[in-house]
C-alpha cells in the first residue's frame, strides 16, 4: 500500500474554510483574554520564530518522511550567518536609525542569509540524506543526528562556546502604545515577516510548477517520476526552501534577542518539531499554527508562574491533542504506512 503523504494547503478561501478561520480567530481572542496585550505580543513573536522553523521540518517530512533532526541546527547556523554579516562585512555596532537604510540592510540580510542557508540545506541533503533515500527508514535519522553534531561543532570552533552578541540594528526602543501595552515595532516586523513568508510559501507550493512537483512527489514519488518530475531536483529544492526559512528564523532570532550560541538549535528545533507534529506533520498551515500554540503555552506558563513546567505543558498538550486527533490539529487521516 502506498503511503499517502502530502504537503497540504487549504484550497482558496471559500465557505468550507469559515469554521477554521473562525476557530483561529476565537482562539486568538481567548489567548488575548488569558494573557493580556503585552504577553499577546510576546507569544506572537516567539511563536513566529517557532513557526518558521517548523515549516522546514514539515516540508522535509512531507516529501521524504524524514525527521530532520539537524534542522534546528540549520536554524542556528542561520543566526550565526546573519550575525557574521552584520558584524563582519557590514561592520555594524548599534541600531540603524535611518528607516530607508534599515530597510535596505534588512532586505539584503534576508536575501543573502536565506540563499546561503538554502545552499547549506541542499548540500546536507546531497551528502547525508540522498545516498540513504532507499535505506531503512531509521538510517537517515541517525545521519541527521550526526549532521547536527557536525554543525554544532563547526560553529563552536568558529564562534566559541559562549553566546556571541550581535549588533541589534533594529532598535528595541521604537515602540508604540496600544491597549495599555507597549509594543515594539520589531515585534510587529517579526510577525509580519513570518506571515509574509508563509503566504509566499503557500503561493509558491500552490501556484508554481516546482510547487506542483513538490506536492506530487510528496504524494507518490514513483508516479511523479513517471510523469516527468525530476525527483532529485524537487527534493533538493524542498530542502532549499526549508533551510532558507530556518535561515529567516535565525535572522529574526538575532534581530530580536541580539545573540547567537552554538547550541540554541537544540531546544528551538525540538519545540519547532513538536509544533510541526502538533499541527499535523506535512501540513504547512498546521506547522505555523503549532508554532504559535507552543509560543502561547510558553508565555502562559510564564504568566501564571509555572515556567518550571512549561516543557511538561507543551508535551502534555501534544500528547492530549494526539490522543484525540491522532494526526495533529490539521492533519488528515492517513492510511497506516505500508
Amino acid at each position: 500500500m502506498q503511503t499517502q503523504r502530502s504537503i497540504r494547503l487549504p484550497a482558496r478561501l471559500d465557505g468550507s474554510q469559515l469554521p477554521f478561520v473562525a476557530a483561529i480567530a476565537g482562539s486568538l481572542v481567548v489567548a488575548y483574554a488569558l494573557v493580556g496585550p503585552q504577553q499577546f505580543s510576546n507569544f506572537l513573536t516567539i511563536g513566529a520564530v517557532y513557526a518558521l522553523i517548523a515549516l522546514g521540518y514539515t516540508m522535509v517530512y512531507g516529501i521524504i518522511e524524514l525527521i530532520n533532526f539537524a534542522h534546528g541546527d540549520v536554524f542556528m547556523v542561520g543566526s550565526f550567518v546573519a550575525l557574521w554579516i552584520l558584524s563582519g562585512p557590514l561592520g555594524l555596532h548599534g541600531s540603524i536609525d535611518n528607516p530607508a537604510l534599515l530597510a535596505v540592510v534588512l532586505v539584503g540580510l534576508f536575501l543573502v542569509t536565506m540563499l546561503i542557508l538554502g545552499a547549506l540545506g541542499i548540500f546536507i541533503e546531497r551528502f547525508a540524506y540522498r545516498p540513504l533515500r532507499n535505506a531503512p527508514r531509521l538510517a537517515p535519522l541517525i545521519t541527521a543526528i550526526g549532521v547536527s553534531f557536525i554543525l554544532q561543532n563547526i560553529m563552536q570552533a568558529f564562534f566559541g562556546p559562549s553566546p556571541v552578541n550581535s549588533p541589534q540594528i533594529f532598535t528595541l526602543n521604537a515602540r508604540f502604545d496600544v491597549a495599555g501595552a507597549s509594543i515594539g515595532y520589531l515585534n510587529v516586523f517579526i510577525v509580519a515577516v513570518a506571515v509574509a513568508l508563509m503566504i509566499a510559501l503557500q503561493l509558491f507550493v500552490g501556484r508554481t510548477r516546482l510547487g506542483r512537483a513538490m506536492r506530487s512527489t510528496a504524494q507518490d514519488r514513483e508516479a511523479a517520476e513517471l510523469m516527468g518530475v525530476d525527483i532529485n531536483l524537487t527534493i533538493a529544492f524542498t530542502f532549499f526552501i526549508g533551510s532558507a526559512l530556518a535561515g529567516a528564523a535565525g535572522i529574526v532570532w538575532v534581530l530580536y534577542f541580539g545573540y547567537a550560541v552554538f547550541n540554541q538549535g537544540f531546544y528551538a528545533g525540538l519545540f519547532a518539531f513538536t509544533a510541526a507534529v502538533l499541527g499535523g506533520i506535512g501540513n504547512t498551515t498546521g506547522a505555523a499554527l503549532g508554532g504559535f500554540v507552543i509560543g502561547f503555552l510558553q508565555v502562559a506558563a510564564a504568566q501564571y508562574g509555572y515556567s518550571r513546567w512549561s516543557e511538561v505543558a507543551i508535551f502534555g498538550v501534544l500528547v492530549l491533542v494526539l490522543v484525540f486527533r491522532p494526526t495533529g490539529l490539521l492533519g488528515q487521516q492517513l492510511g497506516e504506512r505500508a
Binding site: 545516498p131 531503512p136 550526526g146
Partner: protein, 382 residues
Amino acid sequence: MSATASRASGARERRSNPLRALLEAHRSLAAILGMAVVTAALPLLAAMPPLNGFNSQGVWVDSFANAGVFVLLALGLNIVVGLAGLLDLGYAAFFAIGAYTYAFGASPFSGNDFPFWIMLLIGAIVAATFGLLLGAPTLRLRGDYLAIVTLGFGEIVPTVFLNADKYTKGTNGISGVYQPSLAGYNFTFTDPWPYYLTMAVILTLAILAIYRLQDSRVGRAWMAIREDELAAASNGVNPVSTKLLAFALGASTAGLAGAFYSAKLTFVSPDQFGFTVSFTVLAMVVLGGMGNIWGVGVGAFLLFIIQSVLLKQLNPFFASFGLTGIDFLQYQYLLYGLALVAMMLLRPEGLFPSVRRRRELHAAEELPEEPVAAEAAEGSTP
C-alpha cells in the same frame, strides 16, 4: 571497525559450518555459550595491548559493566524499534524511572533498604507499568506521531523528577543509594568484578528471553505488525495488545538497566536522563543492525566504549603521533558526528543487519552475493 564488520558479515555467509548449524538450532545454548565466552574474553583482552595502554584492567572491567547497562538498554529498545517497528525517541524516560525506583527503594533519602535483587524486578515492573500507561492511549498513533509522543514523554519524566523536589530532592538528585550485596558480600567501588559478572548474568538472561520471545507467536506478531499492520490485523493479530506488550517489555528492560545503573553509581539526578541518552541508545540499535540481537549488543558496546573511553583518549592518542598542538578533546563530537554519518552511509542497515530483515528488504533481488557492495551501489542510485 569496518574490517570487523566485513569479517562478521563474511562469516554469516558461510552457512555450512556444522557448529554454526548446531548453534543456530539451539539458540539458547548459543546465547549462554556466547555470553560466557565474551564475559571471559573481555577482561583478558583488556589486560593485553593495546587496551592496557589506555586503562588498567580493573578500570576496563568497570567500563564494561557500565557498557553493559547500555547494551541492556539497546536490547530493550530493539524490541520496540527493531522487532515491533515502533519508533521510541524517549526511551531514557523508562531508564530514569527504573533508576529512581531503585533510589526510592534503597537509599537513606527514602529510608528504605530493600534488597537490590528484588528492586531489580520492581524497577522493571514499575517501568513496564509506565510503558503501559503511556502506550495505551498512544499506540494507535501512526509511526512518527508515536515517535514525537515518546520524545515528549522522555522530556516530561526528567522534568517531573527535577521539579517534584519534595519527593526526589529535585536537581540535587538522590545520593548515597545503597550498593547491592549478595550472600553477605557487599559490592564496593573498589572492586568492579561483582558488577561486571552480575551484568553478564542479566544480559545472558535478557538475551535468552528476547530470543524466546522473538521466535514465539508474539515475536512473529511483532514482525508482522512492523511489516504491515493492516495485513497483520486482518490475519488475527491484535495490533494494540501486541504493540503494548512490546512497549512494556522494552520499558521493563530499561527499568532493569536503570535499577542496576543507580545501584552502581549510587546516585541519581534528573540531568542524567535527557534526550541525548535516548538518541544514543537509538543510534546503538540502528548502528548495530536493528532486529539483530547480537548486532545490537555489539553496536551498543562499541558505541559506548567509543564515547566514554576512546573519544576521551584522543589527546594522548594523537600525542603519540607527535600531534600535541590541538585539543582534540574539544572536537570529539565533530569526529563522532562524522563517524555516525560515515557509518550510516557505508552500512545503511547497520553493522550487523538481521538476516531476516535483510531477506525482507531484498526479497525481490534474490540476496546478492556481495551484500555490502550491492547495498552501497543501490543506495547511491535511487
